[in-house]
Symmetry: D2
Subunit: 313 residues, 4 copies
């Protein structure tokens, strides 16, 4: 497992609570997973005791996305039989992801982010290798076992009382995504993410994710200058403007706030968020430069006028 | 009746269709109703043939608000017995209005603006003089007569099948307005209206309402430079940003677009609207200066930091 | 106009209030409109002063349906040029109706009965003769005039702020009706109406509509024995069982209650209504025989087992 | 654990999958849990290896309710330290239940039955002894551990992304239950359950629960005569009347169907269900006597007229 941030850490804790012995490749909470380090770790494991490589596609806590293809290649390069497990909670349906093509063994998804539903539903996509591994696994489990669901899937029923409202909502979400077109959905998320980052830079503030190759298309975490409490800032913004930012965690607790730019959101709504953020920074007395909203507007205009590439150079 | 704009004109046409003979004080669609002209018209009517003075509190088509108190005083000054009828469709619950204190005889309201409901409900508030006039009126009418409703009001029932979903929605709207507090609701509309006007001025564009004393707290109409088609602009904005502006009418048809800032709207949402408008102006190639969204943000920050008065000087 | 009941009477009153001079063919509120009497009235009108024959397809107040085709033939037989106007508020989409085939000139419909929507929308279907008559009509009107709507219909827009929530609901209603199939919808209403009448007869109570040829497919009014207050019965049922019956009117006020069997209702729901009614009759001490619900069940079973025809003989 | 039916069996299977070694007191799926047998089992366990007695308050699969107080007393009589765990999924908020007074250690509840919500939420009520046991438990677990939730409960937050729509729905459900009054809610369920059983007996059919002391207030399972397929009956009823009965399980699979009478249901709705069931029995050619719906109506009338006790004697 790779320490990309809070949710990777919780996943590791979950594994430990379930009696597993996770190795946790340390990280500084400011980048995605490094494929080279995963490869190194696997090469050391001559006995093939490692059963799976577990990575968050998008670390919701830090706004760092870990490209999965390089990790797939790194695992392949070692010849190690470990499964590849990927958490796509905050990336699914917002950016390109290829369970089959990248030969991911277990993909974990959820309803409440890019699928635009309330919380209450999670998914697993499984490879044949994952199914085979489940058959010989000795980890005790009941609800989390796949057998009952796989059996009922054949009949189109559910092994337990299903949350039908979620299933009906999901059908609508998927229709909405296809109506817009997945390529357009992904381009929209990329555009709004870049607009957000341009605003942050124009404010003179620092993006938590310190390497552009890990930038997240769905979440941007913004570091406040030393001595400024991000939770106090979030409270002021909530009370004044009824806007709710994501909290900060771990080594950077109270140091940053997170702007979500995923799901049912468009340019105008995003600009409302960025302008509100700039106003809240002023009211909170956080040192910053004006012009963040303006920079985002300039980028969005360029993107829509076909000049996005030029603007980005 | 006073020609403040499209909806005043339609009211006049309605009167004519009903067999009445309205006198229509001409206007240029860029101000509210002038109390002095109303007074002058009434003084000419020695025979008291004029039955009512009809004014739109807020002309939805132009974004000009007609203060009612001066009109009340002008009528009083003449001693003319005409009733005072006021259309508050696009001002009710968004700005101060006093049916009793201003001795309005008939106030007409609707559900779909400041009351934040879908269309489907209209109200009349009546003075004793209005009720007395209705008793002797010879205008034929059935649905628009008040008798059946007044009779049933005593019992708490409706004379016809009531649109109960509207009544239930209204109860919620009124709770929401009182939860925020009417003074806060009115201040919010005033703040968002001023922020909008500051954006328009920063763009170097002209506000249709040419006299600040008639500025509307709920709608701002923005004139485009000569040679630019406002309908084309509205279409481009709708297609690109999914934002829908109000259309233009009458002598200024295709010359302006309208920004609504009323009802369930807050600072962040307003900023989304203004930033989107600035982006759409760029994409449409409408000559304008940047900085409108920024000017609005500066004003809102000042308003929230207690410095609104200073900022306004 | 024909005095079929309360809503016919209100229509006549409406006409009078609008300055028209309706002739009102008297009725006893227990049958539909008699085509022969309409013919007689028209034949007397040598001067062709009668402009229109106005009939309720289904008199909501009494549960009597007036077949329109015989009325059409009666008018044709006289050669009288009067328009034929039909109110289909409580029959539309619940039983067969043919505006074009029966050459109705004006059909009036509403949202809140067979179309299964909340109140808030009404329709007019118009013949060319109706349109021609409107052009020369001298009755003053504004909202009720068709011109503005006809003009905008061409563009797909609305002349006023439309109640879009009603239009969207209507699209769904129509989809639902077509999904079931209109023939099935009509058969369902016929079946539930007959089941209701069999229950009433089994109770030993009297159906207000005294001639089977006028039986309504959507509403059955049930007379209580002399000395029993139908409003007291309705209150008891409402308080005990949370069931709300239609009220009684006119010469039979407090003498009957009405069971609606239209719109989004099926066999099981109908049986809940009839069983509840039988229970409420018992609790109210209304003299009646048991077995009404049973009779309705027997009929529904026969209808579904293909033996409906046999059962009906 | 006690074999009351399918859901008790699944609970036992779940325990086994989690690596526990449940003892399963055998049952015939037609009664509730027998306190005497539980006592006997505990007395045999001199070494106190049994950690918990697990009972379903209401076995959803069979419509048998297990009174908890006698079981509490039986455990107390042995002096055995086993915890008492009770599943109240299909009884909670529909019949009296006393976690504290009966000294239950773990009560498990769900949203989707008596609380009238869609599926998607479950609850645990815990005793101090349960909390103490959790601290020393060696069973590996993560999501199912209570620590995170208990910690966050103090702050009013959730350890994971909460299904806020369920929490908001729950607030409304609880308001509805209190508006009606819990005593009235319980009496309503008792009345509808008895009405259902009277219908079943009048049909000459057998109630699966063979001992009245275990009758369920929320579910009644109805055995069909030998040779009749309950699934075929359920399908016919679903297709003809759009009514969905619960399925049958285990040794009685395809032998019975289940009528739910819990949650947001009243007398009229229940009668719709029972009359529909009687009609479906006829259409399916299941041998039965008429008069079930009538018997239920008679009982409900008696219950509402204050004569329920007399009628029951």
């Amino acid at each position: 497992m790779v320490e990309t941030g809070q949710f990777a850490t919780q996943w590791k804790d979950m594994a430990r609570k379930l009696g597993l012995k996770p190795e946790f490749i340390p990280g500084d909470w400011r980048t995605g997973a490094d494929a080279a380090k995963i490869e190194e770790q696997l090469r050391k494991d001559k006995a093939h005791e490692i059963k799976a490589v577990c990575v968050l596609h998008n670390e919701t806590a830090t706004g760092c996305l870990s490209p999965i293809e390089p990790i797939r290649k790194a695992i392949d390069a070692t010849g190690h039989p470990a499964l590849l497990m990927v958490d796509t909670i905050s990336s699914l349906a917002s950016t390109d992801y290829r369970h089959d093509e990248w030969r991911v063994d277990i993909t974990i998804g959820g309803a409440q982010k890019g699928l635009m539903l309330p919380p209450g539903m999670s998914f697993n996509a499984l490879s044949d290798r994952a199914l085979a591994a489940a058959k010989t696994s000795k980890l005790t489990k009941s609800f989390w076992a796949w057998d009952d669901m796989l059996n009922m899937n054949k009949l189109g029923f559910f092994p337990y009382t299903p949350a039908t409202q979620m299933l009906q909502g999901l059908a609508v979400s998927i229709d909405m995504l296809h109506e817009e077109g997945l390529d357009n959905v992904f381009a929209r998320h990329a555009r709004l993410a870049e607009a957000t980052r341009r605003a942050v830079r124009a404010w003179g503030l620092e993006i938590l994710c310190r390497d552009p190759k890990y930038y997240s298309p769905t979440i941007t975490a913004v570091l406040l200058p030393e001595g400024h409490d991000a939770d106090a800032f979030r409270n002021l913004a909530l009370e004044t403007f009824n806007i709710s930012y994501g909290a900060s965690f771990g080594p950077y607790a109270k140091r940053y706030f997170r702007i979500g730019h995923l799901g049912d959101i468009n340019d105008g709504w995003m600009m409302g968020v960025l302008a509100t953020t700039e106003m809240a920074l002023s009211l909170a007395g956080i040192p910053h430069k004006k012009g963040g909203a303006q920079a985002a507007m300039d980028y969005i205009v360029a993107a829509h006028s076909g000049g996005a590439r030029a603007a980005a150079e």
